[in-house]
Symmetry: C2
Subunit: 290 residues, 2 copies
Amino acid sequence: MREPGPPGVQNYYPPYELGQPITGIGVGVIIRSESPKYRTGDHVYGNLAYQAYSIHKGVPSLRVLPNVETLPWSVYTGMAGMAGQTAYIGWKLYSKAEKVVGDTVFVSTAAGPVGSAVVQLAKSQGLKVVASTGSDEKVEFVKSIGADIAFNYKTQSTAAILEGLGTGIDIYWDNVGGETLEIAINLLNAHGRIISCGSISQYNAGDTEKYGVKNLIYVMTKRLSMTGFLVFEHPDLIDEFYKEFPQKVASGEIKYTEQRYEGLELAGQAILDVQRGHNKAKAVIVVSNE
Amino acid sequence: MREPGPPGVQNYYPPYELGQPITGIGVGVIIRSESPKYRTGDHVYGNLAYQAYSIHKGVPSLRVLPNVETLPWSVYTGMAGMAGQTAYIGWKLYSKAEKVVGDTVFVSTAAGPVGSAVVQLAKSQGLKVVASTGSDEKVEFVKSIGADIAFNYKTQSTAAILEGLGTGIDIYWDNVGGETLEIAINLLNAHGRIISCGSISQYNAGDTEKYGVKNLIYVMTKRLSMTGFLVFEHPDLIDEFYKEFPQKVASGEIKYTEQRYEGLELAGQAILDVQRGHNKAKAVIVVSNE
């Protein structure tokens, strides 16, 4: 789950340390502070240890969440947190959708926290949204949040669905890589954009199992762009996100789902479910309620 | 040579018509004009038929070349024409080199008209230039125009050369696609840029021969961008090109080579040489001298 980065590239997060609690994006409450940045009772967001209490030395880079929207705090770990930020920032920077309303976007793993945010952002801008996900139950969820076409890629052919549109696609939000990426490249229109957000089909593929994408010539002939990004590298947009996005979640304009694991003792199960794709929504481990 | 475009995408040029002269980018002289855009004696640049004289009905989209630089007209078909434009526009729009002087760029087919322009543009901005080409003679030419490292990819390993840099690469100007693209992706640093200008290794590959690029996950993890573009889609930059670039060619700041085929009867040979990669420089067919 915390793979080493590619050669010469530092990983997004520091690796876990043996014998130490693992860490993840979480929301916590300041109990005592010696920093002027944090006051007792402040709710903070950032990389926190999986434990009931922890001590942060120096001035940690935790963000104080005013939560004027009075959202459940758990939402700040998902739709109003990194997942929402990823969708917001990737879409804002690379969809170029402002200029071409009327486009069609294809979103893979559309029922996940990032995918479902992208579906809703795209829909709110008037795009036609085609969404793939891995179960019929998730198909229903993705339709309920506005996807025009949603399908179970395990029982339906992605290529047939995209070809069946008759119009091609203009944007592919890629969470999976591999063959699905190749199919999307085949069906992208001129000036199509690929937003490379994830590559879950390739994470655990051995060297001989990795999928070879054979149609990259279309990047040139169709004048496509393909871009990867990292949410933390855009601090200005993260500030903007917090101004705009949580209130849309609070108002119901942006919908979300959560799968809550109540108690730290379920953390292992939660991680296993996510790694195996058995979770049904954004997995949240509730260490303690206030 | 004029393949059908990918599904749903119009090709760059109209296909050749059987029984009609083939066409290509050329420079001609206006002999008689009924359009106020063109005067007798004007030299014009654009898509011209392979013939000594031709009649253009309506108002053709030919550009009048003032040639205040008094370059040989043939240069306007190459370094001061589409090849130079392609390098100038692709580099300007997608290298992001203004912001990160000190970067390393890798250019494939660096002895060709586009590649050699890119080598010189990159060098003039202070980048380190690594260049691959297909013969020892071309290696010498590429070094003579400023490449820091030039190698014959047929006798040396591209992967070994790029790994040997020790620094990775920041920009890959891709003229070839396939395995070379995969190698470049492996060696690109975080935030690396791929400018997809050509894919010559894949043009004539059958479906079973096409190379599958297996490491596109790095687009995400290394936050790469890969972009294709078409020179004709940026008219403003083409105007800018004509203001800036031909004078650099005239002054010798940008160097070029040409392989001239004197006489229309050599057109077939010229095309064959280019398609087979037997040309040694920009191929120019001289239909007639003034």
